[in-house]
Assembly symmetry: C2
Homo-oligomer: 223 residues x 2
DNA sequence: TAGATTGTTAATCGATTAACAATC
DNA sequence: TAGATTGTTAATCGATTAACAATC
């Protein structure tokens, strides 16, 4: 697979393509043009062809794209077939909710262990995932390949735990704490789930619309 | 406040500014230059000044920005002071985890009610939020101002519930279902929390780095 | 073959960065 | 005042869109 430098925007669109292709498959659609796919996602056909062309030639002139084949290509580009292994740090509310509700396997990750500091849960299993003591973390990382750590610890623990993880060779963190981990000069990959950022963006748009309406109402009152 | 058309990229950066300013406040720092702020966030000073200039003049030549004042401005731009009210649809695992762990008030939202279809929880309270029957939704929306709905229903219910919400005047949805709700021609604001999209982006970067290392290893083996 | 649609090159558009006069 | 740093205009860079020859 050719891996030229692909822009961040393109990468962020890949999972949306994947989801849409899964929806199409479910609906029994096996063939789609960039025109129709673009229409359904709100992208231009050009953008879609440009995006895919970063990785190869997946379509066929005069025909379009084969849905399952394209799906498989994108899954592979995203690394879903690489058998990545992940650990979870912090088995509190968020960690448990994630373990129960999020299907790591479906997205190519195997959650092989979880770590916590509370003696009462250490040594137990939670949904087929063993909960180990944080004291075991370093040893565990020496003995197992861990491609990513899911960070679901309390706010205060976020930075020290991150330091511990990177010091022990973890190079990718899926961060659920509402703490800014991205250090300007670190090579660790950090992907953030910032609930508040998301809600605040929505809040901005709600406020914007509200202001627009108020302005409109004020104008029509004048006339 | 001037509200010219602000690009999406700028809006997405605002919550990060807010968080950083809160961190600075906590650290007792009350003044910062665009240079230093940029350094800490990985942005250029130019970008920071450009971003802020969309909304007004918050700095002072020769001095920089006053941290609490700038924080207040951004909070206001994001609509955090507008007393937005939200309802939650679906009180399953995700809904409960969110109610327990996410402080809506901190971000300017008041969670005034939750809705579910399961008789055994209808009529109860969960963390000060009353759980009502879905049958009451339409009436509730007529009688209360609801600025946003938090969508935490099972996958299958996502589309029908969304239709019901929009039909009853809800114009903003915070979507936690892994379903593509953004219809190309709807005016409803949809903000998605797609866990899988986030993990798959991370997966891409892990795979990319792995490939780069393999290529490097292969090259050095040849020499 | 004729029609459709790709992959790719060129043109446009928008966002980021640089530069600098204004000013605290 | 001199030094620092903003707000803003201009330059650059990158991403999106348009166009079209290639081809199934």
């Amino acid at each position: 697979m050719k891996r030229v430098k692909v822009s961040n925007n393109v990468i962020r669109r890949l999972p949306r393509y994947l989801r849409k292709l899964d929806e199409l498959t479910e609906a029994g659609i096996s063939r789609i043009s960039s025109f129709e796919l673009g229409h359904q996602l709100g992208f231009t056909p050009s953008q879609i062809r440009q995006d895919f062309s970063c990785f190869g030639e997946f379509g066929q002139q005069g025909y379009g794209y084969n849905v399952p084949a394209l799906r498989a290509e994108i899954a592979s580009i995203l690394g879903m077939d690489r058998g990545f292994q992940a650990i979870m740090i912090g088995v509190g509310n968020i960690g448990r909710a994630l373990t129960e509700n999020f299907n790591f396997k479906e997205w190519g990750f195997r959650l092989i262990a979880a770590f916590d500091v509370r003696p009462e849960i250490i040594g137990t299993m939670f949904h087929e995932v063993p909960i180990l003591s944080m004291d075991m973390l370093a040893q565990f990382l020496r003995e197992n390949r861990v491609d990513a750590a899911v960070l679901t610890v309390p706010k205060e623990a976020a930075v020290p735990v991150t330091e511990m993880l990177t010091a022990n060779g973890v190079e990718a963190i899926w961060n659920f704490t509402n703490v800014e981990l991205t250090e300007p000069n670190s090579s660790t990959l950090v992907e953030n789930i910032h609930f508040s950022d998301s809600l605040l963006s929505l809040s901005y748009f709600i406020a914007e619309r509200s202001d627009e309406r108020a302005a409109k109402a004020a104008r029509s009152e004048k006339n």
